[in-house]
């Protein structure tokens, strides 16, 4: 970046770029942008895309065991949406000059990340409820904020994704509400899923602002519009009341409601667990990657057949 800044032309370009951000304009693929901006947006979109696709796995585990045809159809539609969201995001990320092939390769080489939440297993049907309600719920809070991100293709993908995600969260909450009206065993199963997914959902927003070194630059460039802690608090405040409505308890003995701010304060988050899962030691890290690589390899012949077919069409014409 320093090299770029030494030439006067780029300084003008940088000033122009910053002025556009100041006016809340969107940056489009072929516009000039600092290399660090391009890299940051690309990394974030790629990670987001991988998360959508890897996120299909814990839910896919339950398609064949869904308790009714209605539940199965809904789950299939939700998983299909997640695949679609991955593709919107890959297509938006590709506008910054990296091919999807390379992004998938980086994922397989574990040089690109995906959200750590998907390294937890979906053990019971209640987990499908908890994932839709809490995990998608947390993702929505983040994604609503990203609808205003400064990179045009990313912001547009977010608008589309947010429209579709609200069904995901509602179907999850409906599962939890139904189980809480069921037998004591079903209620216990819902509470157990709540206990296991609550804290990892809060970790989805990332480290506290004080421990998030890149936040400041990302906020300045309007890639990120709200800080991790602020988004996390929004999620906490709206979700706790939803839990109480259906009779779930929050697994946090330090939870307090502040009458003045009309906001909840939570106990300490276990960041050791968070970093351990990020570094690859979560319950399902290996399984998720092995599965993705296996199906990517097994699908190779389809891509090759399509390419051969396309070549043949050209030759025939």
């Amino acid at each position: 970046m320093e090299d770029i800044l030494t030439t006067p032309i780029s300084q003008t370009a940088l000033a122009h770029f910053e002025a556009r951000l100041q006016n809340d304009e969107k940056i489009e693929p072929k516009d000039w942008m600092p290399e660090a901006y391009r890299k940051t947006v690309l990394r974030q979109m790629m990670q987001h895309a991988h998360s959508e696709v890897i996120g299909m796995q814990p839910e896919g585990n339950w398609v064949l065991r869904a308790p009714s045809l209605r539940a199965k159809k809904i789950l299939l539609a939700k998983i299909q949406d997640e695949g679609g969201h991955g593709l919107y995001l890959y297509s938006a990320a590709e506008t910054l000059g990296m091919d999807r092939t390379e992004m998938i390769q980086l994922l397989h080489e574990q040089k690109a990340k995906y959200s750590s939440i998907f390294n937890y297993p979906a053990l019971t049907w209640a987990d499908i409820g908890a994932i839709g309600w809490l995990v998608d719920g947390a993702a929505i809070v983040n994604q609503v904020s990203l609808q205003r991100t400064s990179y045009g293709p990313y912001a547009r993908a977010m608008v589309r994704i947010c429209k579709e995600e609200s069904f995901h969260q509602r179907q999850g909450y409906e599962i939890m509400a139904t189980m809480m009206k069921g037998t004591p065993e079903q209620q216990a199963m819902a509470q157990d899923a709540m206990n296991r997914w609550w804290w990892p959902s809060l970790m989805m927003f990332g480290p506290h602002d004080a421990d998030s070194p890149h936040t400041e630059q990302s906020m300045e460039w309007k890639i990120k519009r709200e800080s991790n802690d602020r988004l996390r608090q929004k999620f906490i405040d709206k979700t706790i009341d939803q839990a109480y409505v259906i009779g779930l308890t929050i697994p946090d003995k330090d939870l307090k409601f502040n009458e003045e701010t009309k906001s909840y304060s939570i106990g300490p988050i276990n960041w050791d667990e968070f970093w351990s899962v990020v570094k690859g030691n979560g319950p399902c890290n290996k399984q998720r990657m092995t599965h993705h690589i296996k199906y990517h390899e097994e699908g190779r012949w389809v891509r090759e057949a399509l390419e051969a077919f396309a070549k043949k069409q050209i030759e025939m014409n």
Binding site: I27, D31, D81, G84, E164
Partner: protein
């Protein structure tokens, strides 16, 4: 074939309803126009968002950028006479 392929990139434009303009929605990878159309349908119209789809190989799309903005569009800035509000109408004249 050892090199993995993600196939050609196509830009997707969707017409929401009869009579409306086509709007750019995103892109898909596909080997040929038929599969590009099918992928575009699966990815961008799962909730009845469209009734007609165009797909165009991304390599054929030319575009201006923000840097071209002044050169391309400034020349229209001083031509207010292209707008109806430029003209002074006599008092009492109606339906014009």
């Amino acid at each position: 074939m050892n090199v993995d392929t993600q196939l050609e990139l196509w830009e997707v434009f969707i017409q929401k309803n009869n009579g409306l303009p086509f709007k750019h929605e995103g892109s898909v990878h596909a080997s040929d126009k038929e599969t590009a159309l099918q992928h575009a349908r699966d990815i961008y119209t799962r909730r009845g968002e469209g009734r007609t789809i165009w797909v165009v190989p991304a390599k054929y799309i030319a575009s201006t950028t923000a840097d071209d903005e002044a050169m391309f569009f400034d020349t229209t800035d001083d031509k207010a006479y292209r707008h109806p509000t430029f003209y002074v109408m006599p008092e009492g004249a109606k339906q014009i």
